[in-house]
Symmetry: C2
């Protein structure tokens, strides 16, 4: 059974463990084993070790163990995705592993920065600039080009879905779409008794 | 001569190319060759290709070519580092390459989130929560634990320096400190005619 690393800022929600269990059930529906970083379950008691380093080691060990990843790249505390999740996307790419991503905000980066700051169009340079005078990328991408392009180059652009605000971090519509993409991409030969399958 | 990939949000400044040249000169002072992602120099004219994908390919090719990286992890458009730079940190780690990082804001993540949002302490769970009810990490780290721990696990914690606000993205004090750390770590045998050296 292929293993999928599940990354996203939902680990910071009070009901993170329940959300992780739901995602793992959805993975199982497609014949995948979900690996969810249960940050809260790391117990440093008696070890004398720093809990942040223990979590880092547990998460990176899971990424090494995983066959591919699905990343929740919904904007978090600003116009861009959670940096923890983005680090993990980069690491999966560096490890040569396939990654799929989704966002629960279907707007593009330029739109979100303009909503948050006094942005201006620099007619001479033909670029948009934020309040600090820094260029705002305008490729129509969901986020910084390194994120969108990493996914596109692997064959599946980021899945954009507009979730209800109260469901911003736990809506699983885009997550299901990534499972569909993964099942198509990693499909076992027809008739195989094991491997990814459509739920049903 | 060892090659160092230079990542950071200064690529979005109007004088990005001048800053890149300055950083490359500093690298040369230590016996390193700096590789700076001159995003603005990619020319898609006539190629019919998407410029964002061309930049991605140029940057990732540079990372594959580099021996190690130095990353500017100064908070960008919110409480955390630039996601493009963070993607690159993750990719370098995934590629098994050494990375050094610095920030021009010496405050910790919790302090910055509390400054920006109505955060509250959840006495039952013993964690700080942001305005959306999501846990704010409280390890005293500069940013999300994946960032700080990635650097610490490699042997050199993030270099924190408080730059003047107008120098937030171009102050090179922390960058020089990373070059020092790299020179110590990657030092050639004494008397070697090539390789990293102290400037002077």
């Amino acid at each position: 059974m292929l293993k999928v690393y599940l990354a996203g800022p939902e680990v910071f929600l009070p009901d993170a463990i329940a959300i992780g269990k739901q995602k793992k059930r959805l993975c199982a529906d497609y014949g995948f084993q979900g690996l969810f970083p249960f940050d809260n379950e790391v117990s440093p008691e008696g070890s004398g070790q720093r809990i942040d380093l223990l979590i880092y080691r547990a998460n990176t060990a899971m990424m090494h163990d995983a066959d591919f990843g699905i990343l929740n790249l919904t904007p978090f505390r600003g116009p861009s995705a959670d940096v923890g999740t983005v680090f993990e996307l980069g690491m999966l790419v560096g490890l040569g592993k396939l990654a799929f991503g989704y966002t629960n905000d279907d707007s593009d980066l330029l739109t979100r920065v303009k909503r948050a700051q006094a942005a201006e169009f620099d007619a001479a340079a033909k670029v948009w600039r934020d309040a600090a005078g820094m260029t705002i990328e305008n490729f129509g991408n969901s986020d910084n080009l390194m994120i969108d392009a990493a996914l596109t180059e692997q064959g599946a652009p980021i899945v954009r879905h507009r979730a209800a605000p109260e469901e911003a971090f736990c809506d699983v519509t885009g997550f299901r779409a990534c499972l569909e993409l993964a099942a198509e991409r990693l499909q076992w030969p027809a008739g195989s008794p094991v491997g990814p399958r459509r739920p049903g």
